[in-house]
């Protein structure tokens, strides 16, 4: 049985269930890299050039940690997932960058996902991918359908139960260790955390942002807890047709939660993120119009836990005081 490696980084948080279902239906086993740790972080950092953004550096670290544990590495080249909505260049160049920077990587499966070319091209790419595991056409088709079903169920589950992908996967990142933070049982504040999934759910680089907020008495909402349609509508209202699909969801979530009159918005971005640098400004403007407190956190490999906690505490104190005064 073939083993397919899936690095726990970038689009992992969005598509893991679908990929698992697809490869599973074709009789391949999926191997996921461990949660980000210091070794992965250092290895990734040492491979890529310094200007690369942190999540992409981490990605190489995750690939390295899987290098001798699988027969294939699955790294799709994501170009577009909707009409005229694109992914960042680094997603498209990911397979080729991995080949250049991690020579010890096993053969890479790199289907090009480009919905701009139409669904036919997408199915063609998926079929070519499936051919590595099965020569049976109908089996690949069935696997594709199953993956689609699992993906929409996964997306719906998150918005219906208002849970994060990590909870939906049924795992804890740094579970029962001494770092575990007990969430406040009766949260008094509602805070939206908007940002890329691979930033807000990677506890290593954001220093357990979400559990920290929960422990400080916040009820946390993330973009995945809203329905996809609601995000799309909010995005259209704010800035017209989106240019980048990942960021459209983030900005859409910002608008959606502003309209829902949450107590505060925290946007989390990594330093050097191209799309974020242009898009987050829209949320900032809207937050000013709504007079909702807005905190922008820019993370990089040097972000210190202490500094982050201080900013969060200050922000939450401000939100609390405002709430007392307003009520």
């Amino acid at each position: 049985m073939f083993k397919v490696g899936i690095p726990r980084a970038l689009s992992y948080y969005q598509y893991l269930p679908a990929w698992k279902a697809f490869f599973g239906a074709l009789g391949a086993e999926t191997v996921v890299s461990p949660p980000t740790n210091k070794a992965i972080f250092t290895a990734g950092n040492s491979r890529a050039v310094a200007e690369t953004c942190l999540p992409v550096k981490l990605f190489f670290g995750h690939v390295l940690s899987l290098a001798n544990k699988c027969d294939y590495m699955f790294i799709p080249a994501m170009r577009s997932l909707g009409k005229k909505a694109y992914y960042c260049s680094k997603f498209i160049g990911l397979p080729d960058m991995t080949r250049a920077l991690v020579p010890e990587c096993p053969p890479i499966l790199d289907p090009e996902i480009d919905l701009n070319k139409g669904r036919r091209a997408l199915y063609r790419a998926i079929y070519d991918l499936g051919c590595h595991f099965s020569s049976d056409k109908s089996r690949i088709k069935k696997a594709t359908e199953q993956a689609e079903k699992v993906h929409s169920a996964y997306r719906k589950e998150m918005s219906a139960r208002e849970i994060t992908p990590i909870q939906a996967f049924g795992e804890r990142h740094r579970g029962e260790d001494k770092l575990y933070l007990e969430p406040d049982i009766s949260p008094s504040l509602s805070v939206a955390v908007i940002g890329h999934q691979y930033v807000i759910y990677d506890d290593y680089i954001n220093h357990r942002l979400i559990s920290r907020l929960q422990a400080m008495g916040g009820r946390v909402f993330t973009p995945e807890m809203a329905e996809q349609e609601a995000l799309d509508i909010a995005m259209m209202k704010l800035g017209g047709a989106p240019h980048w699909s990942f960021e459209a969801d983030i900005v859409g979530a910002g608008e959606y939660y502003l309209e829902a009159e949450l107590d505060g918005i925290i946007s989390v971005a990594v330093f050097g993120c191209g799309p974020d640098s242009m898009m987050i400004d829209m949320v900032r403007r809207r937050a000013r119009e709504f007079r909702t407190p807005f905190l922008h956190l820019s993370l990089d490999e040097h972000t210190s836990e202490g500094g982050l906690v201080t900013r969060l505490e200050a922000f939450l104190d401000m939100v609390k005081r405002r709430k007392r005064v307003c009520v």
């Binding site: 050039v49 200007e51 992914y87 260049s89 498209i92 160049g93 080949r99 330093f271 191209g274 242009m278």
Partner: protein, 369 residues
């Protein structure tokens, strides 16, 4: 209608020539003052912090144009993955927030280019007949080609001239003369005259300059303010510079010949294939390909220019060092914090490395490590 444009190298000459030929009194062209530190400061002040340098510089230009009373602004728009797709949206908002009442006309640079340039022409000329537009374009393009061709000669002369700075002086005069030319004939005469002058610049016959090619993101490669005159600085160090990308080439192929199925980058893309299989937006694919091609052609090194945090160029930067065709690459990243002296030090070190490497190669000791 008062039209403002952003700067990119001597691109403003085209706009000037077009308006001169097609102007009907109704529209007036406002060319903002040459990009200066004030432009940069304005751009930096009003842009999102992490926006890229071309965004900040062109925003500065447009604000300066607005200060001079422009009410219509022209800007390029892409539909690819790079940030260029967001320039117009972002800048429009910022300029409106500053209280200027200006609307944007966009020039699509990635899709529907021909249609968009024709529409732009129609907007600008209030429907001049097509033959007139074409003759005006011919005139404007003539200027651009003359200048770009001359620049290539200047790159060669700079490296070997006896008295540093002569070629530059001639070139500066040539830009002025060609810019002021009123007819195709005048452009031709000026070109001939200044080419002769370049020929007469005293050169060192024994000079054997190292050859370097410049690749990278189109705006910083083409705009001397953005790249801090890197070509001139390399020339001062006695380096012969070669650059495939130029404004005239870009206009010629991107706006016209691509439609006839001519792909000017075909060879380059083919060369990039083993290392980068697909277009990553911007000029990343071309950068990788050009490195491979130039290595095969026997260049001594590649200088790769990009704005800081440029997404496509980071992909290229990650891939370039690992190609089988092995020549040194120096990546220079530009942002508003960059200092000219820092760049010069980097270039000096790089050129020393190239010279050393060449000496070793010639002495027969091919192994580099």
């Amino acid at each position: 209608m008062r039209i403002g444009i952003p700067h990119c190298g001597h691109g403003y000459l085209i706009a000037e020539a077009l308006v001169q030929k097609l102007g009907n009194g109704k529209s007036e062209l406002i060319i903002p003052p040459p990009t200066s530190h004030r432009t940069l400061d304005l751009g930096v002040k009003y842009s999102p912090v992490e926006a890229c340098l071309p965004f900040k510089l062109t925003l500065g230009n447009l604000i300066e144009a607005c200060e001079l009373g422009a009410d219509t602004l022209i800007h390029a728009r892409g539909t690819g993955v790079c940030r260029l797709g967001y320039y117009v949206k972002g800048q429009e908002q910022i300029i409106r927030d500053l209280g200027y009442d200006a609307h944007f006309l966009t020039l699509d640079v990635s899709q529907h280019r021909f249609r968009s340039i024709m529409r732009l022409m129609k907007d600008l000329t209030n429907g001049a007949p097509p033959p007139q537009i074409i003759s005006a374009l011919y005139f404007a393009m003539g200027k651009l080609f003359a200048l770009d061709k001359m620049e290539q000669v200047v790159h060669k002369v700079r490296a070997v001239e006896l008295e540093k700075g002569m070629a530059n002086q001639v070139y500066r005069e040539a830009v002025k003369a060609i810019g002021q030319a009123k007819t195709v004939r005048e452009v031709k005469n000026a070109t001939r005259e200044y080419n002769k002058k370049l020929d007469q610049v005293p050169k060192d016959p024994a000079a054997d300059p190292v050859k370097v090619s410049i690749v990278g993101e189109v705006f910083v490669v083409l705009d001397p303010f953005a790249n801090m005159d890197i070509e001139m600085e390399l020339g001062k160090l006695g380096v012969e510079v070669e650059r495939t990308m130029s404004l005239s080439r870009w206009v010629k192929y991107r706006l016209f010949l691509n439609y006839l199925g001519v792909n000017e980058w075909k060879e380059v893309h083919k060369a990039a294939m083993p290392y980068l299989k697909r277009n990553v937006g911007g000029d990343g694919w071309e950068s990788v390909g050009e490195k491979v091609v130039h290595a095969r052609e026997g260049y001594d090194g590649v200088v790769h220019l990009a704005p800081f945090t440029c997404m496509p160029e980071i992909v290229a930067q990650n891939i370039m060092p690992s190609t089988k065709e092995d020549i040194p690459v120096l990546t220079v990243l530009y942002d508003e914090q960059m200092a000219r002296l820092g760049m010069i030090t980097k270039l000096e070190a790089f050129v020393d490395l190239l010279k050393f490497r060449r000496k070793r190669k010639r002495s027969g000791n091919l192994s580099w490590r």
